[in-house]
Amino acid sequence: MRFVACLLLSGLLAVPAFAVSDPAELLPDRAQEQRAETLGHQLRCLVCQNESVEESNADLARDLRHIIRQRIVAGDSDQQVIDWMVARYGNFVRLLPPFNAMTVVLWGAPAIAVLAGLLAVLFARMRRPAPPEPLSEAERRRVADLLKS
């Protein structure tokens, strides 16, 4: 019991691991730092590609974290920071891609899948063979005979 409690507690205490290892990277203003971290989590590290800029240890990710903080201190809005990144690295840099002509299939995929499933079910129903005619009196007798023997 104690062990389980400890385990639960350690789970609660565990904080997500951030690559920001150098306290000098952090902004003194808590609110600004919070914004920078939120933004960093939305941007892809171009080197490791499946990590966000905030989580990655790559040099480039560190540079980008620094730039995010510079832009925030300079008074950029969140959207302006993202636009700055997109201008250089394209929409690929956004971990949550925007909805546009290029991503229509990506975002539409769940709807397309559901629709395809519904169509498949409908199609299968339509093609289900009609139930067989009830047996005639002669057939019934024959079945009874066969079962008896």
């Binding site: 171009l46 080197v47 590609q49 040099d59 480039l60 540079d63 690295y89 690929f92």
Partner: protein
Amino acid sequence: MNNLQRRALLLAPLGLAAIGGASFWTLLRRMDKGTYDPRGIPSMLLDKPLPRFSLPGQSPSQGFASADVVASGRPALINFFASWCIPCVQEAPVLMALKRQGTPIWGIAYKDKVDATSGFLQQYGDPYTRIARDEPGTVAIDFGLYGVPETYLVDRQGIVRWRWAGGMTDDIARQSLAPLLKSLA
């Protein structure tokens, strides 16, 4: 279900598998030849003017600014490299060959130490018209660079026409770059 339908149902999955297989094979072949990189990121700079920059030089070369490249009035390559980058070693002979053919290459040493850069140039050759240093790597970010080496082709007007991310090979220089250089000359 008539015979035709039956045959169609049988052939449809086979056809799909054939198309899939053929696409996959092309993809693997292009990856093998180096003309397709699944981790590649398309450049935002294509058909856009060179980002503005002005960088200090790697002595004895003086540095250069974006304006200098445009002022040269010739199509030119801008090549980001570093002594610590292995594909840069591999592409060094390709760049040297381009230099011999008279292509101006402007080099930018990315996040590198002065001594390390000069050692690299001594060992593998110096194909560059001029060499600038981007030690903090900020100009590289304006280019949308995500690794070294990266090579950009700029036309006379300073518009970026082509970008190659990764080490350049003879094949790529011959098949992708050479026709473009010819058309821009």
